[in-house]
Each structure stands twice: as C-alpha cells, then as structure tokens.
C-alpha cells in the first residue's frame, strides 16, 4: 500500500502560537442513535476515549470522539486503524439503522499551540473564544473566515481543529496569518 499523504504535507509555522499539520489521521463518521449503549461503547473502544454529550469532545492519547450533531459523532483514531474501526463499528451496530464511513482523507487536522491561541481563533470565528465560554472538552463547529471548521481544546494552551481537505491550505494560511499578528490583549491569557 502506498504512503498516505495529508492535505497539508506536514506544513508548520513556529511563533508565539505554532500552527501545525498533524498528519494523516483516522476519522470515522458515525451516524445513528447516539443514546444507544452499543454505539457509545464501540465508539469508546475504537477511539480509546470517552463518549461525549451534546457539544462535547472526549479526547485521549489514542483518539477522540467528537460530537458533530444530535445524530453524528466523528471518531478519531490512528490512520492505519481507521478501516478496522469502520468494520468494528459496522459489526457492533449490525441490524440497527446507522451509517459508519471512513472519512480519514476528507479532512485535515491542524494543531495550534501557545497561550495566545484563543485570540488567533477569535480573529477568524464568530464563536465566543472566552475561557468561560469555550473550555477543553467542548467541540465547537463554526466558521473560520469563509469556511466551516470544528475546534476543540486539548488543553488551555493547545487546540486542534478540522476543516475540509480542499480548503486545508486556506485554513492553514488564515491561522498562520493570524498567529503572526501581535497579541490583541483582550482575552485573559492562560
């Protein structure tokens, strides 16, 4: 099997807030009854993380489950485990109405690191990035400038976000441009 390339080919910028392509990632789109124990437990197993409630992001070292809508989660895992994950979810939910597809290549995952990351994001998204409004454990799907994105904090000083593959360079450039600008000094710094 030939090597898989991510949309951003490992792009990164350093600075007070670093912007970095996290490389290929396993991503599984799961739609179904999010209240069903079978769905929750197989997602937990595949991601090696907890299962989120409304608007949540459950993250672990191995993967994550991101709440996308009332009937959809995105399960993150290693790229080379995605196909197996789809199979496991399919098997666990066989006979119930659901959809589980490998979408590992449909999106890019970009990491932000640095104390000023909230203000970098606040230049681009109308969502409230104040620490009281947006905390680790939350998944915020929103708009970054002119395209859709989903953002979650992995700590007070680090975040990851997803956007569609075709606009990955646009989003990366937006973030790098915003990160290069001097601090605004509006939000409290972690």
């Amino acid at each position: 099997m030939s090597e898989v390339v991510s949309a951003l080919h490992g792009r990164r910028t350093e600075g007070s807030v670093a912007v970095r392509d996290t490389g290929p990632r396993g991503m599984i789109q799961v739609r179904g009854d999010l209240g069903a124990e079978a769905l929750q437990s197989v997602c937990r197993e595949v991601a090696g993380s907890g299962f989120p409630g409304q608007g949540g992001a459950e993250v672990s070292d191995q993967g994550a489950v991101l709440w996308m809508s009332p009937d959809e989660v995105l399960v993150l895992t290693a790229r080379d485990r995605a196909a197996e994950g789809v199979t496991r979810i399919g098997a666990a939910l066989a006979g119930t109405h659901h959809l589980a597809v490998d979408v590992s290549d449909a999106r890019a995952v970009i990491a932000l690191e640095g104390a000023g990351l909230r203000e970098v994001l606040a230049r681009l998204t109308p969502a409230n990035m104040h620490p009281e409004a947006f905390r680790p454990g939350q998944m915020r799907r929103t708009r970054l400038a002119q395209v859709a994105a989903g953002i979650w904090l992995t700590s007070e000083t680090s975040a990851e976000l997803i956007c569609f593959r075709s606009v990955a360079d646009y989003v990366f450039d937006l973030l790098a441009n915003a990160a290069a600008s001097p601090a605004v000094g509006h939000l409290p710094v972690a």
Partner: protein, 109 residues
C-alpha cells in the same frame, strides 16, 4: 445581524453561521393537488409585521434545520425549536400570547 440559539447544539449562533430558509410549517402539496393548493405551497408566504415563524439551518455547525419564532419589527426571538414538527410547541405559542395579546399568524393566535 441576528443571534439564534441552535436547539440541537445549545450554542448561541451568529447569523453568519446560519443559512435562512424562509417560512416555517409549510404543508407540501404534490401530485394530485389542484393549482390553488400548489400555488399556496410553492409561492404564497406570510409577510407579517410582527411575530413570524421561520426556518434556519445551522449550516456552519451541526447542519440541522430548526425553526425560530421572531418578531420582524423588534427582532425579539421568542424561541427556537427543532424542525420535526408540524406546528409550533404549545408553550411557545402561550409565551407569544402573553407578550403579544391579539397576535395572529396564519390560523394560529
């Protein structure tokens, strides 16, 4: 620029995260309907100076359609609710009645 709460996500959305979808609670008329019914369904819309029920999609979020009861004059939002209903929730209608005595919308009052 409006803010509306997405009833699915619970987040207060900026209008730029939403896409508008016109009037809510339309009844579809398909084959077999007469011209008057079809015209009503496809083209004729309420245009109230006051409380209106309208459709919105959380386009940059969960992608779900929801409905909002909003005054077109004061921009007051009485509530939002999922789109999988044929008429507004009773408690919302009650709330509007209290705030806007004499209010009417189609056959609702």
């Amino acid at each position: 620029m409006l803010t509306l709460q997405c009833p699915y996500c619970g987040v207060q959305c900026d209008e730029t995260e939403l896409s508008p979808g016109g009037e809510a609670h339309l009844t579809r008329f398909g084959p077999g309907s007469d011209d008057t019914e079809f015209e009503q369904y496809l083209f004729l819309r309420e245009n109230p100076r006051g409380v209106h029920f309208e459709r919105w999609r959380h386009a940059y979020g969960c992608g779900k359609w929801f409905h909002a009861a909003r005054c077109t004059m004061t921009l007051e939002v009485f509530g939002t609710y999922p789109a999988q209903v044929t008429e507004p929730p009773a408690d919302l209608i009650e709330k509007i009645r209290e705030k806007r005595p004499g209010w009417r919308w189609r056959d609702l009052a």
